[in-house]
Amino acid sequence: MRDYAIMIIQPAAAMVLAPMLLGVINWVKANFAGRRGQPLLQPYYDLWKLLHKSAVYSSTTSWIFKAMPIVCLSAILLVTFIIPLGFGKTILSFNGDLILAAYLLGLIRFFIVIGALDTGSSFEGMGASREVQFSALAEPAFFIAMAAMARQTSSISFSNIFSAITPQMWATNSATLLLVTAAIVIVLLAENSRIPVDDPNTHLELTMIHEVMILDNSGPDFAFLLYSAALKLWIFAAILVGFILPMNVMPWQISIPVSIAAIFVVSILIGIVESCMARLRLVRVPHLLFTAVALAILALIFTFRN
């Protein structure tokens, strides 16, 4: 009974609360800039409005362009069934689920990129080219970080890794955990197209990565993409929180609210980073991602000492 409750609450929380993360980030940024800013629930209003609008399709596009938002949203929804919140199993947890999650994200990338190329716009081609470059570097960082965590906790699924984090581990092996956290934070920023990798609020198509790839989507298609971007942010934040917080010491009634709160803290931190930093020059972004790879390898080396 308890297990089933956890299994249902986890994806439900993600699906309901994910757009709020974007609202929180905008709220933090507005406060930093001394503006009043949008209401916290603005992303929900946006989604609602977009879902009820009509769509315009470019005459260059084919069925690929129409399939893209649907495939992206389906795949990301599937990932929300894999990543646990707090501890306990999810509906789709099995040994090796982290590989499936990473590759579902790869499927999303594949479709977003070909969807962008389908419009024939050179700006969208530019965004697609950058997306594949940066994510090809973020991918090894993510995998090595997961290998380090797998070694640290001797388990190969998200739910087991999250459950194995204990306060004692922080006392004895904080180096690994800290380095993995640093690597995952960089991966989170890169995969979700946040500053310093990409600026979601820039006004110039030449400098965008993610936003420029979905320039031509409108109506429900755009709503799907917006929602999947929010879910993706939620997923990475949940992974980060799961790798850091020792959930095993709490009963599940507490651990789930605590991790939800922690996810929102992550979004506040992202907002702070975005308010204080500028976007890196695009030629410098690979260095940042190399750093993530290097940190993940360092974390892995630290797992050898015990």
Binding site: S54, A55, T60, S74, L104, S121, V132, P140, I156, P220
Partner: protein, 655 residues
């Protein structure tokens, strides 16, 4: 056994008979029918062996010294036989449509050589006598050489054929040495029981690695591959890339399975070679402008992935890690099957494009999805599969490799953990670049607006070509969905390579098939979600006017198809990042004034090993003596570096 030999005989017979048929169309159809009927007959035996697990052998003496007509079908051979017969039959169907384009030519010769190629490949995986093996190996090489040089009126094709025949014979020379050594140590040229131990077995392994590796296209020995594959007609490229290079992999697997002693460093060597082939292969693929050349480099990459799997298996075998051994080999074998499907499919798709637009340059194409919808549909399935993305078959193979590496990464022994982690990192990176490479091919060739009139006037491919491509696409989906049922068959083949006690790794306790069931469930869930969301969108848009307009031009008012991103510009950031590793030659006019007149960008990536390894040796030695001067530079940093290197060497040597 009789049925199988009869099937092979039928393939050869129709090949010879086709030499006497004048009409091109009838001739290819006759040959293809021979291949299909013969394959259907022969494949039954292979399937029987694969599922029953028994071994069939057949031996008759032969006049040739040391030779005997000794063939054995065990489950390894059976698996490869099924790949050969399946892929070649589908390619034969495709060939009927493709060769119809050559109206003025007599098509007897290619038909004959194609049938010989199929029969010889089948014989390669069955032969158990060194002399017999070398004979059929040579027939395979020569048949494929004549097929590569089919368009021999082009200078570039003759050049490619020349490189191929030289490279393949260098490989054969090593194989000759391998079999001579094997025969000498063993006392007989039949190689089913080998009693070689110690240093000798390492020598044998290295000889086999170079000899078979040349055929397989492992990175430093791959030079012939990007030349020969684009030159051949497309169904031949499909067979060569999908099946023939796997004969090299078969050779390596067979060598592993017959040598009684396994060394740990063999596995390390294979993993390192695999990582190098995989990474450099996909990077070179990304840098190409020619669609078939790009696919050829991608074959190098996939051979790299297969080698990583074999290397992990060997490490597991030598280091006593059961799960790494079994799942590493299983991943490699599954990837061999998968690659033979999706690479054939992609080459056929590329062939359909070339057939219809008469160019292989991606930058001249575009927008073909509107003109060739069926080809594009099959091609995108192949592209998703080759990137190893769920829910298709490519993911299953890569999943097994990842899973075995993750499981091995938990072990205590650093000699196992280090290659496992290296494999994880390399697979992740290869996966990322593969997405880049195949979104590029599909996006530039099939999507957007046509860049030239050749692309604008393209037409859909012939019916035979469409059918064969979709057959392969359906197989890709099918293996993805039925993975848990395929796995036990693969495992039964792996048990031929590893000792029987390794079966514990796949007993219900470790549940590898349960994981695959989970993956299948999520694939089905993915399909359900996609259809539900599609329905939701349809309902949302039902009572509204959906309009069509031009692509948003970002304020630039006069866009033409030529300002679209090209394959060079798409891959430029990645290629630029690795320019030191890839020997990139750029031709660029930098913009340096306020109102620039004309700017252009062009890049070439000559093959590294071509440029660096296969240059005439004497030239290199000549330079070497001259190069010794660099030791004395007078740069302070260099001297400190010498000191540092000396210190480190001393440290390593003393400790």
């Amino acid at each position: 056994m009789i049925i199988l030999l009869a099937g092979l005989g039928f393939i050869i017979f129709t090949g010879i008979a086709s030499l006497f048929i004048k009409d091109g169309k009838t001739c290819t159809r006759f040959g293809a029918a021979g291949v299909i009927i013969g394959s259907l007959a022969a494949v039954t035996t292979a399937i029987k062996v694969l599922f029953s697990g028994e071994t069939i052998s057949f031996k008759i003496p032969w006049q040739v010294p040391y030779g005997s007509f000794y063939i054995v079908i065990d489950s390894i051979s059976a698996l490869f036989l099924i790949i050969v017969f399946m892929a070649c039959s589908i390619a034969a169907v495709y060939g009927c449509g493709y060769m119809a384009g050559y109206k003025q030519r007599r098509l007897s010769a290619p038909t004959f050589f194609f049938n010989m190629l199929v029969a010889s490949m089948a014989m390669v995986v069955m032969a158990r006598n060194g002399v017999l093996f070398l004979v059929v190996w040579e027939i395979m090489s020569l048949a494929s050489y004549f097929l590569v040089t089919f368009d021999h009126e082009h200078e570039s094709v003759r050049q490619a054929g020349w490189i191929y025949i030289v490279a393949t014979h260098i490989g054969t020379a090593f194989l000759l040495a391998f079999f001579v050594c094997l025969g000498k140590y063993n006392g007989t040229m039949d190689f089913d029981n080998v009693n070689v131990f110690g240093k000798a077995s390492s020598v044998l392994f290295l000889l086999a690695l170079v000899g078979f590796g040349t055929k397989a296209g492992i990175m430093p020995m791959h030079v012939w591959l990007p030349e020969a594959h684009p030159a051949a007609p497309s169904h031949i490229s499909a067979v060569m890339s999908g099946v023939m290079i796997k004969m090299g992999v078969y050779g390596i697997i067979r060598t592993i399975s017959i040598l009684p002693e396994i060394q740990l460093w063999w596995g390390w060597l294979l993993v390192i070679l695999g990582i190098v082939s995989g990474l450099l292969g996909i990077l070179f693929a990304l840098a190409q402008h020619d669609i078939k050349r790009m696919l050829a480099y991608s074959s190098v990459e996939n051979i790299g992935i297969i080698l990583i799997g074999l290397g992990l298996g060997l490490i597991g075998l030598a280091g006593g890690s059961y799960i790494l051994a079994v799942l590493g080999f299983a991943g490699a074998l599954l990837h061999i099957i998968n690659h033979s499907l999706f690479k054939s499919l992609l080459f056929m798709g590329a062939g359909a494009v070339v057939h219809s637009t008469e160019t292989r340059r991606m930058d001249l194409l575009g927008g073909l999805i509107k003109r060739m919808p069926l080809t594009a549909g099959a091609f995108v399935i192949g592209a998703i599969a080759i990137c190893g993305l769920p829910p298709l078959n490519g993911f299953i193979g890569e999943f097994l490799l990842y899973y075995s590496s993750f499981a091995a990464a938990l072990s205590k022994d650093i000699q196992i953990v280090a290659p496992a982690v290296a494999a994880i990192a390399a697979l992740a990176m290869i996966g990322g670049f593969a997405v880049a490479a195949f979104t590029k091919v599909f996006g530039i060739v099939f999507l957007g607006e046509p860049r030239t009139s050749a692309a604008a006037n393209a037409h859909e491919a012939d019916k035979a070509m469409i059918v064969s491509m979709w057959l392969l696409a359906v197989l890709c989906i099918l293996i993805g969905i039925t993975a848990p049922l395929v796995l036990p068959v693969i495992i039964s083949v792996v048990m031929q390579i590893v000792p029987a006690e390794y079966e514990i790794a796949v007993l219900p306790f470790n549940q590898p098939d349960k994981m695959l069931w989970w993956i299948v469930i999520s694939s089905i869930a993915l399909f359900i979600l996609i259809s539900v969301l599609a329905m939701i969108r349809r309902n949302l848009l039902k009572n509204k006017t959906v309009t069509a307009g031009p692509t948003w031009d970002c304020g630039y008012a006069a866009p033409t198809p030529r300002i679209q991103y090209t394959s060079s510009s798409f891959s430029q950031p990645i290629v630029d990042m690795f320019k030191n590793a890839m020997y990139l030659k750029r031709n660029e006019v930098k913009i340096d004034e306020l109102f620039p007149k004309q700017a252009q960008f062009e890049s070439h990536t000559p093959d590294v090993s071509n440029e660096y390894i296969y240059r005439p040796v004497f030239k290199w030695i000549d330079r070497l003596t001259g190069k010794m001067q660099w030791l004395q530079y007078g740069v302070v940093q260099m001297y400190v570096l010498y000191i540092a290197i000396t210190l480190i060497i001393l440290l390593v040597w003393k400790l």
